[in-house]
């Protein structure tokens, strides 16, 4: 059924926002991680979203064939680490600088707001679909 297919699209969108939220939370949590797994400082991550398919008129534009987003990969950003002067730190270099991850808390907060709004938008689409389905079924309610 077509309207049920819209549910799945909203669900895919919510999954993507969930992944973006997880990535943003991980970036914030690792803002002071000076030693990553391989000794280098933690690199802020970002989620790369791609779509499963492209809509085409040939496919009939049914909800099943419409493109839905999916998180393709989570890649580290290229941002150079922030150098903090802290001579007592075990990770400090010979000049006393520690490489701290280039987590920009301001833009991460913006990302959080964007995630929140995106998730809400998908919820709203879900709500509208549900309401329409419910109204359609209520058509059959006797008097």
């Amino acid at each position: 059924m077509d309207l049920f297919g819209v549910f799945d699209i909203s669900s895919a969108g919510m999954s993507v926002e969930q992944s973006r939220l997880a990535v943003a939370a991980s970036n914030l949590a690792n803002a002071r991680t000076s030693t990553g797994v391989d000794g280098t400082p933690f690199q802020p991550l970002k989620a790369v979203v791609q779509t499963t398919s492209y809509a085409s008129v040939e496919a009939g534009l049914a909800a099943e064939s419409l493109p839905r987003p999916v998180v393709q990969s989570v890649v580290p950003t290229e941002a150079a680490p922030r150098l903090v002067y802290d001579p007592g730190h075990p990770d400090a270099d010979e000049k006393g600088f520690v490489s701290m991850p280039a987590v920009d808390s301001l833009s991460t907060m913006m990302e959080l707001i964007s995630v929140s709004r995106g998730y809400e938008a998908n919820l709203r689409a879900f709500d509208v679909t549900r309401h329409l389905l419910q109204s359609t079924i209520d058509m059959g309610k006797s008097r």
């Binding site: 049920f4 549910f7 669900s11 969930q18 879900f126 419910q134 079924i137 006797s142």
Partner: protein, 99 residues
């Protein structure tokens, strides 16, 4: 007094023909198909039960997926309920018919 104007009506032979009731085509929808639909709805509900258990045990990461499936099942159930109500209503209407 001439009544020729309506004479034509009397001239036409009045026949009442009930159209024969044709048997339903073979291989068409049977009641078993309806039961099949109800069975699949039942399976959907059983799967939802498992999904709710998984949520309660903290084994699932996709809460929205579970909620969406619950909502899908609820709507499917309501649709089935409406179909059932309509069918029953039609049956009772037929049974009340004066013969």
């Amino acid at each position: 007094m001439s009544i020729e104007a309506i004479a034509a009506i009397g001239a036409a032979p009045f026949t009442f023909q009930a159209s024969p009731v044709s048997a339903p085509p073979a291989g068409g929808e049977t009641f078993a198909a309806v039961l099949d639909g109800i069975n699949s709805l039942n399976e959907q509900m059983a799967r939802n039960d498992q999904a709710i258990q998984a949520v309660a045990l903290g084994e699932t990461s996709d809460l929205h997926q579970v909620m969406m499936n619950l909502e899908k099942t609820r709507l499917t159930f309501e649709l089935a309920l409406q179909v059932r109500n309509k069918t029953l209503e039609a049956y009772q209407e037929l049974m009340r018919m004066q013969v």
